[in-house]
C-alpha cells in the first residue's frame, strides 16, 4: 500500500512521508490543496513548531489518510 500526492502525483510509502513531502515542497500548488480542504497550511506548519507533540504533521497525515489516493 502506498499513497499518491493529490497535487503532483508522487507516490510515498505512508502518510507521514507524504505529509513531509507536502510541507517540504511547500509551493503554491501544494499549499492550495491543503487550504482547499479547510486547513490553513501555514497554521499547520506553525503549530508543528510552536507546540510539542508533532501536531501539524499528524493533522496533515490524518487528512491524507482520508483524502489521498491509495495505490498498490
Amino acid at each position: 500500500m502506498a499513497y499518491k500526492c493529490p497535487t503532483c502525483g508522487k507516490v510515498w510509502p505512508d502518510t507521514p512521508d507524504l505529509a513531509r513531502h507536502i510541507f517540504g515542497t511547500g509551493d503554491q500548488a501544494h499549499k492550495e490543496w491543503v487550504n482547499s480542504k479547510g486547513y490553513n497550511f501555514i497554521e499547520l506548519l506553525l503549530i508543528q513548531t510552536m507546540e510539542p507533540g508533532n501536531k501539524g504533521y499528524k493533522a496533515l497525515a490524518d487528512l491524507l489518510e482520508k483524502e489521498a489516493e491509495k495505490v498498490e
Partner: protein, 758 residues
Amino acid sequence: MTKFNVINTPIHNVDGIAKVTGRAVYTFDVNLPHMLHGKILRSPYPHAKILNIDTSQAEALTGVKAVVTGKDTLGVKQGIWRRYKELCDEEILARDKVRYIGEPVAAVAAVDEDTAEEALDLIEVEYEPLSAVFEPLEAIKEGAPLLHENAERNINVTRHIEWGDVDEAFKEADYVREDWFRCSSQAHVCMETHCAVADYTPEGKLTVWTSSQSHYYIKVLLSDVLGLKENDIRVISRYTGGGFGSKFELDSAQFCSSVLSMKLCRPVKIVLSREEEFMATKRRTPMFYYLRSGVKKDGTFLAKEARVFTEGGAYTAMGATALYLTGFFQSFPYIWPSYRYDGYRVYTNTAPTSAMRGFGAPQATFCAETQIDLIAEELGVDRIDIRRKNAMYAGYEVPGQATIQSCGLSECLDRVEEWIKDRGKLPPHHGIGIAAYGFMSGGIFNWFNTPYAFSSAVIQLNVDGKVDLFIGSQDMGQGSNTTMSMICAEELGVRVEDIRLHMGDTDKCPVDLGAWGSRETLMQGNAVKMAAADAKKQILEYAAAKMSPNIVYDLEIKDRWVHLIARPERGLSYFDVVKEAIRGKEGQPIVARGHYTPHRKGMISPAYSFGVQAVEAGVDPETGKVTLKNCVTAHDCGQVINPLGVQGQLEGAIAMAAGYGFTEDLPMDEGKILNPNLVDYKILRTTEMPETTVMEVETYEPEGPFGAKEAGEGLTNPTAGALANAVFQATGTSIKELPITPEKVLNALREKNKEEKK
C-alpha cells in the same frame, strides 16, 4: 607499508611553484585588450520599492560606456535550486523591489574604475521605503512585512526529519533537558574577493573568467539568466583565491559584467570591494536552535527533538540545503533511537544566508555538543564515556537517511582521551573541551537538475608517456588538483610529475559539480581513478601481448614499471609500452574516461568522515577573555591521500571555526552590517592560533577512491562546540550564544557568582 607509491607520501602541491613565485594568474589579474571596468550600485535600504531609475547623467559622464539596470536584463529569477522554480527568487539586478542593503540595482562600465565609481553617484534611484523585518522570529509573526508575495509569514522552506517514536521515547527517559541556542553569522572572507571578467563577442559567445568553486554551475546559471545556450558560454580560471562555500552560486560580479559585456561587445571586469564582499555577498546562516533530549540515567541516548529557525536573508540561495543538513547533522555522530527535526528558513531583510564550510553542521555541532556536556554533568557521567556509549559505528544505519560504511569514531575518542590524560593537571582557569563530529563526502541531492554524471574525468596518454588529465573540479586552495594528480598517478603507476593537469575551463574539461559539500576527493577522485584504470587496462593489453606471460599471471604498473605482479623484476618500461601501444592503435593517443554518480547511497552522502577534537582554552576571570592554547584532533578521513594537504585543511578549519566560536560576528543595525572591513571583523591572526596536533585514525571507506573520504570541511564542525565546552570546564558556565565574547563570559560569570551567593 609499501602499499602505495604516491598516496600518503609528502608531495608538493602541483600548483605550489606557481603560487610561491607569484606566477599564478587569478581572475583578479586578468586584463584583456580593450577591457572596461565595471562597478555596481547597491541599495541603501533594507526593503524598498524601486519607483524609477534615472541613468542619464551617469551615461553622459565622459568615459562611461554603458549603464544597465534590471530593465536591461531578461528579468529571470534565478537560483541554484533549479528543480524548484519557487525557490529561484533572486534577479541579482532588482527591477521592482530591493530586499536587503547592498542589493544591486544598476551597473556601470567605464574606461577605468574611478570613472565607473564616479558614475554610480550620478545614477538617481527613486525608492519608496517599505517597513522591514530583520529577525526570523519577528518575520514569522502575523502582520510582519512580507518580502515575497508567495511566502506567507515569510516562511521560505521547511524541513522535517523523523525516525522512531519520539514521544513514547521521551516517556521512558530518566532525564530530559531543554536548551535554546543562538548561532551567529560568519563571513567567508576569501582573500580574493568575488570578481569576473566577461567577454562577449559578436559571434554570440560569452567567455567569463571568474573566481569560482564550480565553473559548471556558473556556466549553467549564466545560461539561465542571459538566454544563451549553455555551451555558448565558457567559464574559466585555474586559480581561485579562496571559496569556503561563497563561490558556487551566481554572483553580482559575474552577472553584471556579463550583461554589460553583451551590451557593448567588449570585455568588462568587475572586482567586488572588501566592503561589498561583507555587505552584499552571501554568508553563514544564523540559527535559533531549540533542543530537547531524553536520556537514561547511565547516559544512553533515547530521544531528541530539534527545532530551528534560520535567518534566511532576502533570498533562498543554498539555504534550503543548509536547513536540511543542519537537521541531519544535529543527530551526528551518535545513535539516537528516535529523532525529530523541524527546520524553518525565514526570509528577512538582510543579506541572503547560504553555504559556508560545514554547511549548517557547525551550528548543529555547537548546540549538540554543548548540550551533551551539560547532560553528562547533570548525570555525573564521564563526558567521553557518554559519547563512546552512543557513538556511531561502521554498519550503523541512520533510519531512512544513511548507512555508515566506515567509522573510526570510537578510536578517535580513545586517542583524545589519552591526550587529555597525558596533558595532566591544567593551569588555573584553564579547561579542555571536547566535541565530536561527522560530515558528508559530497551530496547525493540533485536540486540543480544536472543531466550529467556528478563527476567526470578524461585521460589522454601521449607518445612520450605524459598523461593529460582533464577534470571539471575546481581547486580554490583546498588542494584538489594535487589530490587528483596523486590518485591518477597511483592508479596508472606513474609519478605526479608525469601528469599534466587540465582544469578550470568548461570548454576543455568534462563536467564536475564543483568543490562544495566535500565532494571532490570522493566523487572527482572516483572518476579520476576510473579513467586511470581504463587507461592502464589499455596499456596492459599491449604489455601482455608483448611479454606473453603465463596466462595465470597478472600485470601491474608501479612507478613507471610495467611488470608481472608475482615477478616484479620481469617487466618493461612504462614509456616504451605506451609508445608501442599508440603505434598499435594506428597512431591514436590512448584515451580513457571515468565518471561517478552516487547510486543507492541513502539521502545525503555516499560516505561520512568522523572526528573528535579537544580544545584547551584559558579564561581570564577579570576580563572574560578566552585564549586558545591547544587544539588536538583525532580524525578519520578514511585513507589519507595527501598528508600535507590534510594537515593544512585541518589547521585552516580550526582557524576558521575558532573564529566562528569566539571572534567573528556580523552585528547589524536595521539590516546594515556594522563591521564590513577587516579591522572590525576579526579573523584569527598568527598570535591567536593555538598549537595544533592531528592524529589520523585510518579506516577504509569502500565507496571512496583507495578508501578515502572527506577531509577539511567537516573539520569546521567541532571547534566552536569544543571551545564552548572548554569555557564550561574552566568556569562552570555554559555559553549558549555564539560568538563566545569576553562580554558574554563575564556576564555568565557574574550570574554564576550571584547564584552561588544566594
